[in-house]
Symmetry: C2
Subunit: 292 residues, 2 copies
């Protein structure tokens, strides 16, 4: 998905939020903001929004060093989500359709996103779960996903955020033979509150499924920035499940084998899908365009 | 008032809205946005937000020519406000405190602002009037303003937006001897939906009060960009009434003789005043700081 022009003020906002988080020094904040605006003025408009995000966070790291402004928040949300893990397992156990319930939980967890809005740190996870259980899918390719899950030999599950991966864990555990069939991928480097290997270890994902990191610092999946191991795993997979907006933006035209699970969290993506902000989506990737 | 860093994404949004209004050509839109972001990356952070606004609109004019994207909207709101003029006069006539009621009307009109949010074109003016009539002032220097109005010989009334100036007219007409004492100033060049001489003519302001233009294209009052006539009028005034955020930003430290009438329309200005968004404000300018 290419950038929309409305993405630019949103990234300016993100930069400022990140600048405020990484330093108290107004001169350094100013320096970050200036550099990010200059970069935004140069970024090709035919790239995905995730590309700007990656560039901005690279600039911040270059200016303030490789500190992780979201370190504590990620830890807090991993623990909040882990506290809900028994409750989520019970919801699945009591459900007439375990797989659908676990997919809904995975989507509910997608609300934990500090790229979209920092004010998210006040979100009430249990309330979100309850809402997401009964919400209709605004884009509904669920039955195709369930069929694909039956047939696939190599499933690549591309995670999005810390905290959210506990919700993903509940879904992954419902996939038959997940220890053999599923590879769970996290980011290669911290960026926003995206899940890294540390989060996978802290939330027990590594105990239930093979976890790899993608070698990249993009807040989505820009394949050319990923490690060879990840690229090979992506190629070998016959089914890819990708979480959240960043992964949709970067993989929506990657060959046709992806399913995207997400909440539409900003007006741009909502309009792109023809849905409302807050709607939940299970979207099968469109088949690749045939070259004529 | 100096810029806050949160002003930057807001100006990025404003640029995009303006780019969308002035051209359908995606390449030209891109060019505008790139140039505006580059300019925003260079603008000194100790300037007022209005300075960036002025620079951005200069860039747009340089790229697309001197067209006025808000021409039609200004006309629509002048006419909408004129339709309400008899109703507003009746409100004043029936009021136990004519001057306060007319001040409240002037502040109510400040909602017509397409710099803050373009979606404002759906605002219901009559509803805003009703709300503003009974709202408490969040900053209340009204009695000082009323005293100052009694004493002043030369009153300079600095307008903000088209449409809004009809509301200002109702207030100006309540100032005793306004034909002699009041000079009403509009912008020297179109910028956003700020009122220009055309709007003053279209709404009958020129029939009731001396109107001058300030010779400037800034969406506020940056004195060094104004004409000598305006600067002289400003110097000669013993009372200045300035409408809206842009005028507050640029004149809040201009010598101590201003009163600012505005609605707090964005979170930054609301926080600056320690009030809520939507609150109404009559603020006497702080006295100039003594040099020690």
């Amino acid at each position: 998905m290419k950038m929309y022009i409305e993405c630019i003020p949103c990234y300016a906002r993100q930069t400022i939020e990140a600048a405020v988080m990484v330093t108290d020094d107004p001169r350094l904040r100013e320096k970050i903001i200036r550099a990010a605006l200059r970069k935004a003025s140069e970024v090709p408009f035919d790239k995905t929004p995730t590309h700007i995000g990656m560039e901005i966070h690279r600039i911040i790291r270059k200016l303030v060093g490789d500190i992780d402004p979201y370190f504590e928040l990620k830890d807090i949300y991993n623990r909040k989500a882990l506290e809900l893990y028994p409750y989520m397992k019970k919801l699945v156990d009591q459900s007439p359709n375990r797989l659908e319930t676990s997919v809904r939980l995975a989507i509910a967890g997608n609300i934990i996103d500090f790229g979209i809005s920092h004010s998210n740190n006040e979100i009430k996870l249990k309330k979100i779960i309850t809402e997401t259980m009964k919400k209709p899918f605004a884009v509904n390719d669920l039955s195709e996903l369930i069929n694909a899950l039956e047939d696939a030999h190599h499933i690549l599950y591309i995670a999005d955020n810390a905290g959210e991966i506990v919700f993903d864990r509940v879904f992954v555990e419902e996939i038959p033979d997940h220890r053999v069939r599923v590879t769970f991928a996290v980011k290669g480097h911290h960026v926003l509150n995206d899940a890294t290997m540390k989060d996978a270890l802290d939330t027990g994902l590594t105990d239930v499924v093979r976890v790899i990191d993608n070698g990249s610092d993009a807040p989505g999946t820009i394949l050319e920035t990923c490690s060879k191991q990840f690229q090979d795993t992506f190629k070998a997979a016959d089914l890819v499940i990708a979480k959240g907006q960043g992964n949709y933006e970067t993989l929506s035209n990657s060959g046709g084998k992806c399913f995207f699970l997400l909440k539409a969290k900003c007006p741009v993506i909502a309009r792109h899908f023809g849905v409302e902000v807050g709607n939940i989506i299970v979207k099968k990737e469109d088949p690749p365009e045939k070259s004529s």
